[in-house]
Structures are given as structure tokens and as C-alpha cells.
Symmetry: C2
Subunit: 250 residues, 2 copies
């Protein structure tokens, strides 16, 4: 398994697509240069990220026949990868490990930049919100985000998941005054398609006074995306960490 960081700006998302530059295609190319096997080596990510979404801690696994120590995999791949992707760490894991199926949690971060105009240095790395915000209202709403809920109001069309019930273990919001940013974090057992970006958009509407503070409680009941149409931009979203039961090598 490797821990992968990437700047999502110039990737058409994680998943392989013809004639597009994707995280999977770029990484598989490097892995196969390193592999001594005759067969093409496929890589498996903990989940997809959309075009423009970033990662500090995406987890990927693949099977190498080569007998390379973990640090050799880090160094070898980084010598071949482009500068917008970096292998942060590598671990040799058991055959039972699967980046997607043995993951039991994920942590996402979302950076919102404030101010009337977009800071040129943040245009690819934050979502920008120029309207007034009362962060105290968002802080009041945050506990409603935590728990086990049906998130049908917060899932983009195109989701192929049958159940929209997920558990969010923790959610936080903090203000970085020096930087003029608001930073959200969400830690849960799994997230639906665009769920974090739709929740952030709804929380900003609460901060702006467009929605009542405890509107999430109503949105869990109505189960209707039409009640929650906005989606915060991909540029603010970071996959920060994927959780496994690593002590048991799973």
C-alpha cells in the first residue's frame, strides 16, 4: 500500500478515462515501469476523487512480484512520477489488505477562502465564498452533521449506491483569521458522491442566514436533493486520511 499526495488541479479525477490525464493512469504507468511481471499491474485506490479534488493521504494498493523494500518503492516511484503527484509512504501489507474494501473510515478537509475577490494563490486550492458569514451559526449546526443519517438530500445524481445511510464520527469547523479561511473537516465511515461538497455548501448557506441553523435535521427527513442544490467547488476539497485496521494488516 502506498500513501499518495496529489494536486488535483491538472487531473481529470482519480479513475482511468480514455484520453484524459487521471491519477490512476499516471500512477499505473510508473508502477508498471517498476514491475518485472509480464502482466499489466493494476492499482486500486481507496475511492475515486473528482477532477480538481486534492489528496494528502489517498491510499492505493497493488501487487508487485519484485522484491523491493518499501523505501525503494517510494524512491523509485517518485523518480518517475510528475511533480503534481508524490508517494509519501509505502508499506508491505498482507494479501488480505484492499485499499477500498478494508478501509473503515475517511477524513476529508474543505478549505473555504473569504473576501470579495479570489486570492490568486488560492484559486485552485480553496472554494471561494464572498457572501457574509456568521461562523457562530455554522458552529451551532455542526453537531447536527455528526451521527448516523440518511444523506439522500446530500448526494449528487449519478451515485450508484443503494443505501444513503452513512455515519459521520466527527465534524469540525475552524476559522483561520490570518489566512481569511474557514476550514471544515469530516471524518466518517464513508461518503456518498459529492456528499462533502454538498454539505459544505449547505453549511455556508446556514452561515449566511439563507437556511435555518438546524436545517440538516429537516434535510435528513425529506431525503430530497432538490432541497439542497448547491455544491461547493472541487478545488477546496482534500482527501486527508483513509483509516484501516493496520495493526492486523488489513
Amino acid at each position: 500500500m502506498i500513501t499518495l499526495a496529489y494536486d488535483g488541479t491538472n487531473f481529470a479525477g482519480f479513475q482511468s478515462q480514455p484520453n484524459q490525464r487521471t491519477v490512476q493512469d499516471v500512477l499505473e504507468k510508473a508502477v508498471n515501469k517498476m514491475s518485472t511481471a509480464k502482466e499489466f499491474v493494476h492499482i486500486f485506490g481507496s475511492g475515486r476523487t473528482d477532477a480538481g479534488v486534492h489528496a494528502f493521504g489517498q491510499i492505493v494498493h497493488f501487487d508487485l512480484e519484485n522484491d523491493i523494500p518499501a523505501q525503494g518503492i517510494v524512491n523509485g516511484l517518485n523518480s518517475m512520477l510528475p511533480l503534481d503527484m508524490q508517494v509519501v509512504d509505502a508499506k508491505i501489507v498482507s494479501k488480505e489488505f484492499h485499499a477500498r474494501f478494508t478501509a473503515h473510515g475517511k477524513r476529508y478537509m474543505y478549505r473555504v477562502s473569504r473576501g470579495r475577490f479570489v486570492d490568486p494563490f488560492k484559486r485552485f486550492y480553496t472554494g471561494h465564498y464572498k457572501y457574509p458569514l456568521n461562523i457562530e451559526l455554522i458552529k451551532e449546526a455542526i453537531p447536527d452533521v455528526i451521527g448516523t443519517h440518511d444523506y439522500s438530500s446530500f448526494v449528487a445524481s449519478g451515485s450508484q449506491t443503494k443505501s444513503h445511510v452513512r455515519t459521520i464520527y466527527d465534524a469540525t469547523v475552524r476559522e483561520n483569521l490570518e489566512n481569511n479561511e474557514i476550514i471544515f473537516e469530516f471524518y466518517g465511515n464513508g461518503f456518498l458522491y459529492n456528499q462533502v461538497r454538498i454539505m459544505v455548501a449547505a453549511l455556508l448557506e446556514i452561515g449566511n442566514g439563507k437556511r435555518p441553523v438546524h436545517d440538516f435535521l429537516r434535510l435528513y427527513e425529506v431525503k430530497d436533493r432538490n432541497e439542497c442544490r448547491a455544491t461547493a467547488p472541487a478545488s477546496g476539497l482534500y482527501l486527508k486520511k483513509v483509516y484501516y485496521d493496520i495493526e492486523n494488516n488489513k
Copy 2:
């Protein structure tokens, strides 16, 4: 006068060039959309920045016939400018003001990122130095940077300036351990072509033990660029502030 921030990554530098995307060309286009004058309005910067060099506080002036309040200039230009350039501030100044000729000082910042590999999020925003560094050696060398000196050893070929004597009023170095960066600042009455980037490269060589701590004193005497060949990358350099005697509107 306007204060301009730009992400230099996708600009071929400040100065207008045929068939290139430059800061001057992009800004002049927006200014002329706003202008009611028949003649083309030229803009004047405090100085050029090279391709890839960033600015938080570049200063530019131009003459508008229109009677627009300063905040209207900020809003109007920002509505037309691309996202990698932003007008931070505007002031109506006297006719004696000239962005270049009445400037009496500039402050540059240089961000060095550390670690074996380039962080994907810093590739365009820092210079990367992967070799060992003893920051204490750099701190010892920093006082030698300050003062009035002949910087001929630190000027890139192509400089058209006759005198290489400049004064640096202040120079600092600090370590951001959380970020794994070293940040330099230089405040002086003016800087030669590539001077900051060549000084940073020499200071890093001092930190690495390749040069004696007080080598700057020798370099001021020999006045020879061959003694100081390295240039730190443009991506780490930021024009932070330009100083004027604004109380007298100059």
C-alpha cells in the same frame, strides 16, 4: 497607483512580449477596457518580475481620464482580470508619482521547501532544496548581506545597470518547522537582475557547508559572477512590497 498580486506561474514575466502572456499585457488589456480615452493607456510597474516569479504587492501606475473612485477601479479591474491576477488596492496619486522612479525600496520574500521530494502543492510556490542544511550557519551569514555593497558577484548576465552598488537595509531568515520551509526576506533600495535568487542560492550553499560562513565578504571583493554560479528557482520568489514616500504622494 494600484497594488497588484499575481501568481507568476502562468505568466512569461511582467514585461510585455509578443505572443506571450505577460502581466503587463493582461493588465493593460483590462485597463484599456475601462478607459474612456481614445489613446491606448500604458501601465508602468515598479520593476519587472521574471517568468514564474510571484507578487503580493507589485505597484503599477497609469493615467485614467475617467473620474472613477479608487474602489471602483479595484472592482472594475477585478471583474475583468483572470483569476491569477488581483488588484488588492488602488489609490489616486499626484502626477509626480511614478511606480518605478519614485520607489525608494523593495521587499522580496523567498520560500525554500525542504525534504527529499518536492511537495506537489509547493512545486510552483517554493524553490526546493533537498540537501542537508544547518540553518545556524545561514543565520550567522545573514548580517553580511546587510549594508551597502558592490553586488557584481550576484548579478545575472543581461543586466544593463552600470553600477552594481546597492543597499540592503534588512535581511532575515526563519524556519517554518510545521511547513518544512525556510523563508528569507530582503529589504533594500533596489535589486539587480536575479540578485535575490543568486544570494539565496549562495546562502543555501553556506547552510550546506559548501561555502565558508563569511563568503559574502569575499564575494563583495572579487566582483565575479563565476564565483557564484547558482540561481535559486523563480518559483520561490515573491515581490512583497514596494516603498514610496506616500505621505507626500510620491
